[in-house]
Symmetry: C2
Subunit: 508 residues, 2 copies
């Protein structure tokens, strides 16, 4: 059973008896915000997944930030009233630009669109025939009776048809939308062939790597030494070879000579790697090393260390620990590609994901981070940087433990919000100005290897309008595992999540 | 293992780096309140019962309301610094009146008192011998070495010895302090002999009943009819007879003639009742009816209906339902004693009770009301009336369902608070101005039959300084049971507690 709450999208006038004694502070003022009504009802009902929303849309719309909140809520239908429509030059109903944009967003989020109300436009009679008939309930074949709201439906259908078709990437991602995946354990487990295959298809990513290697080779070997100097390049975590290929292409492109070591711990991947090298005739240039980079005793030191160990949250697949191990065989002036990466976080409203996490009815799932293609989500504030790692890092007292406190300012015109957790991203500097990024404000376009990560909160946090959201994050390291802990400390204090990595950790 | 957090009782100065960016709103300003530090730490630790507090007490004290908050917290020790002491006329240390009162409260709450710091008073040397020595660690029998802080200890011991001894009632209640008891199910279960015995000892209560019956008899039967008119008085729920005795004494005192029906459903109590009547020679005046008052077919109608069916929360032992059933045999102008009762609620901080409730690790215990002698409790705002019942109630559309919304203003100088639940009380009008009450502002003194009731919250609610606390309560009735539902709706929205009486109900 599902219960739909029908709510106005615009701010409603407070009811008589409410306006008298709304108390004080921003809570009182916000009583007329229909999102507040929804939120209170939903919280009284323990955030039940049987509650949904149908939004009534009229002529006036609230601020964009205020609207965005609904994108993270279980809205099932948008009911557009005929009085929300304007009239175009030909006398037909149409919607304002803001309404159009909103309805398009609704289609993207798969909200049902419903037309409601009386015919309030006087459509020119003769032009009725212009529209092809889709009515099934025609009584008379000769003179089909049209539904009087058909002009409105036709207009909304027009908006739908006008939308851009899904890109290849979107078609690929559509089945992953709001689907929680446990993050990989790349050190403890070996990847599946299918996983390698998916990752290898991300041409944008490897193009960036190739550009980075090109630039590094050019910087390292001046033109006059190109034919004499050989650069030792080690791909650590070579998998089935995409970075080996990118590196060799970079060498060819720049006319620099390179010697490649391809270090890979997964014996299955090593088999495929050997085949690739034979197939491509790279035997003279590439040495395959079947070994964990942290324990390999390298025969010589590298000029360039190339790796793709980043997770959705940058360091979450233990790139720092792996590269700290691998830099033993990097020359003191050697280059690591990537050379730096930073994780990012932003608070989000996501009823669907929270309910999915909660449905497991245990603590562990509420303290685990998930990889997920975020879709029905309201992003409440710009993402902020969290932890940064630089490679190589030869400092004596280096540590991969981190702590930071973030303060998010939610735009005032958003109104109050409910924070279900945090979306995590990364931005990596491969080399100089060549980045890989999934941070929403500066993403590497059409790259699809990484979905965001989602850190849930055990209980959603209500942030009254105008309040700051303060969150604290730790990256903790022990001999056999690495994990995050997190908590909210304002406007309320949450429990500390994932204490001692009890629920979620990545094994070393 | 227990962890004690040592915290200053006075407001501390904010640390350098905190004062810069405390955000806005009252949260920022409250950062220097040590209770806030404690509360944040405790919430991060999921309200662990292993966390305790030791308070450092200096010369200056915060406001009384702010201090009170600690009375509901797991404070184990109060550390009085020697610089908190003043100097009396004879050169000895003493404490300000406010400090004295505070230390006395600490003794009442069994906080350990510790003296700390340097000797800052120059005690007259010769007078040292005035104090008897209690030291065990004397090195030299002839010249015992005194601890230099002994004058402070002596003063604190003096404060302790000066306290009033426990009253009889307090000695009776001491073992019940902060001990949760499930409320009675008086309709479904029969009371134990022990329970009757305890209740019957409450002479104050029966004196009030006797006064009420006296007044009712005088009002009902004018002096000139005293010898001719007989008043029919029915004790419904007579138990082992205390109200029968009080009624007969009232008749004797007023010189009015009464005929008593003693209606009791518990067959064990009826046996004792018969013995009492025989022993006292009341056979001609009292008729015992072994029957549930709701189903008794009375041979005549009563002038006065006397009952003691009230629970700690007034109507919570279903007095309304019982008296609605019994008023069938009350004359239209008859009197019910009690004639009216009102329940009261107030928000409280009570770490101990919350942890006790939580320790059961199930939802049911968090949605159950408990009878409890509140002791380590901070009462955060004056109690407010909740539900009122009037008897008799002959209106056609009477209902015992109730709903109310309460808004508590927590005094501004309290600071922020954590609400663990609500203490419930009742005030009953037996007749005219004769009350029985356990409401803290107007209690019937030395009456001990009722402890307060405690309605817990599933998660404690943090109320920032200056915010209102809004709570909603329902009394719900079904054919076979009655129950309460409750929720907080401001400053945050809690789940609705005890939906459909799933966790806690009283059977009809």
């Amino acid at each position: 059973m599902q219960l739909w709450l029908r709510l106005p999208l615009e701010k409603s006038e407070p009811m008589e008896n409410e306006s008298e004694d709304t108390g004080y502070g921003s809570l009182g003022a916000a009583l007329s915000d229909s999102w507040e009504s929804w939120n209170s009802f939903r919280l009284l009902c323990e955030h039940s997944n049987q509650l949904c929303v149908a939004l009534d849309i009229r002529r006036s719309l609230p601020s964009i930030n205020s609207l965005f909140r609904w994108f993270g809520e279980p809205v099932r239908a948008a009911i557009i009233h005929t009085d929300a429509f304007l009239t175009n030059a030909r006398g037909y109903p149409c919607l304002s630009k803001r309404h159009q944009k909103l309805i398009t967003s609704f289609f993207e989020l798969s909200f049902q669109v419903v037309i409601s109300g009386q015919l309030v436009h006087s459509i020119p009679e003769e032009s009725f025939a212009v529209f092809p008939s889709n009515d099934n309930d025609t009584i008379n074949e000769a003179a089909p009776i049209r539904h009087e709201l058909k002009p409105y439906v036709d207009y909304v259908a027009f908006l739908y048809q006008r939308m851009d078709p899904l890109s290849e990437q979107e078609r690929f991602e559509i089945n992953y939308r709001d689907f929680l995946q446990s993050p990989l354990q790349p050190l403890m487990d070996n990847l599946e062939a299918q996983t390698y295959e998916t990752f290898e298809k991300d041409t944008v990513k490897y193009t960036q790597y190739q550009r980075a290697v090109c630039q590094a080779l050019l910087d390292r070997v001046p033109y006059e030494h190109a034919s004499t100097s050989q650069t030792v390049l080690m791909v650590v975590g070579a998998g089935r070879g995409p970075l080996v290929r990118a590196s060799l292409q970079a060498a060819e492109e720049t006319g620099r000579k390179i010697k490649v070591y391809a270090v890979e711990k997964n014996p299955n991947a090593v088999v495929t790697l050997h085949s690739l090298i034979k197939l491509e005739g790279w035997e003279n240039m590439v040495t395959v090393v079947s070994c964990d980079m942290r324990h390999w005793d390298a025969p010589e030191k590298a000029d360039i260390l190339v790796s793709e160990l980043l997770g959705s949250f940058g360091d979450n697949e233990l790139s720092p620990e792996c590269l700290d191990g691998a830099q033993r065989f990097l020359k003191p002036d050697g280059i690591s590609i990537p050379s730096l990466y930073t994780s990012y976080l932003q608070p989000i409203t996501t009823s669907k994901l929270y309910n999915d996490v909660k449905s497991h009815k245990d603590l562990a799932h509420l303290e685990t981070a998930y990889v997920v293609k975020l879709h029905r989500v309201a992003k409440l504030a710009p993402a902020q940087p969290v932890f940064t790692f630089v490679h190589p890092n030869f400092s004596a007292n280096r540590s991969n433990q981190r702590y930071t406190k973030l303060k998010f300012e939610i735009p005032f015109d958003t109104g109050s919000t409910l924070v279900h957790g945090f979306a995590g991203y990364f931005d990596a500097v491969l080399y100089k100005d060549i980045h890989l990024s999934i941070e929403p404000s500066m993403p590497t376009t059409t790259m699809f290897s990484w979905f965001p990560i989602f850190f849930p909160l055990r209980s959603p946090v209500y942030v009254p309008s105008g309040y700051q959201l303060e969150v604290q994050f730790w990256r903790c390291c022990a001999p056999s595992k690495v994990w995050y802990e997190w908590c909210v400390t304002s406007p309320v204090v949450s429990p500390l999540h994932n204490v001692n990595g009890r629920s979620y950790w990545v094994g070393l």
